[in-house]
């Protein structure tokens, strides 16, 4: 089973930021780990366009072909649910981690950008309960790029348009 690289990168950041929790992807056909644990869920499998694609080409043709690079910017909302007695503290730890220099370095090396998903409040924690199971949910916006390269006979033939409707 393979998962998109950006989800694996998000998992690595959450796993590094949370303390003493097992971190798993949500909604698998799998038994849940025993508490404390956290689930990571991308709220859509098709990331949104995060801006206009960037086009870059070689200055001169290589032979009779031009090489080009298209960089698409993506955005995905990621929801982390924390099942732990100290779930609120862990959620705060996760939010604070994106401002921690060491974690910021890790996030940068993973090729993603993580932002708080917040509307002006102190935090955006959601306190939920299903049956007797209480947990805290915190959402983030994750940005990343996908790069495509190719060769063409004429640069003018490359039409740069968003590829996600």
């Amino acid at each position: 089973m393979s998962i998109p690289w950006y989800k694996d990168a998000v998992w690595e950041w959450v796993d590094a930021a949370l303390s003493g929790l097992t971190v798993v992807f949500a909604d698998q056909a799998a038994p849940m780990p025993s508490r404390p644990y956290a689930t990571v869920q991308a709220l859509t499998n098709v990331p949104r366009e995060g801006g206009s694609p960037e086009f870059k080409a070689t200055d001169e043709p290589i032979g009779d072909r031009w090489e080009y690079q298209l960089r698409y910017h993506r955005l995905v909302t990621v929801s982390v649910s924390i099942y732990a007695d100290d779930a609120e503290d862990q959620a705060q730890l996760l939010e604070d981690s994106i401002f921690d220099p060491d974690t910021a370095e890790l996030i940068d090396s993973l090729g993603i950008v993580v932002q708080r998903n917040i509307g002006g409040g102190e935090n955006n924690f959601l306190y939920r309960q299903v049956g007797v199971d209480k947990f805290v949910v915190v959402d983030f916006e994750v940005a990343f790029s996908e790069v495509r390269t190719g060769q063409v006979d004429s640069i003018d033939s490359v039409v740069v348009t968003p590829d996600i409707k």
Binding site: M1, I3, F25, A26, D27, A29, P31, A42, T44
Partner: protein
Amino acid sequence: MTVLLGSQTLTVTRYGTAGGFVRGVFQPEEPPSTFDIIASVQPLNGRELQQLSELQRTTARMKMYTTTQLETARGGAVADRVEYRGRQLEVQVIEDWRPHVTGLPHWKYLLAEPGEDGL
């Protein structure tokens, strides 16, 4: 034999619990098994929809009646999944109506489509 209104044959997938997580992804020790059931799948009515929290109302949900007992995720098990019109729906809620309906002992299940990260 009990006959359920609008019943059809559906395939259920049952998952084992043995295995472990690697980078957040469950690696089962054994492949899942499948079996067929006779069941009647119906949409939720208005009252049943209102019983869901607002967050859950946008998830695809159906109710299902059958005489076969299925698994939910309670007690460390993995919920069964039912293939219905090309979609895998997870068994989430069980109502046992066997003691209450003379001549038509059955279970009622609430099915839901797992979130996008079903991998």
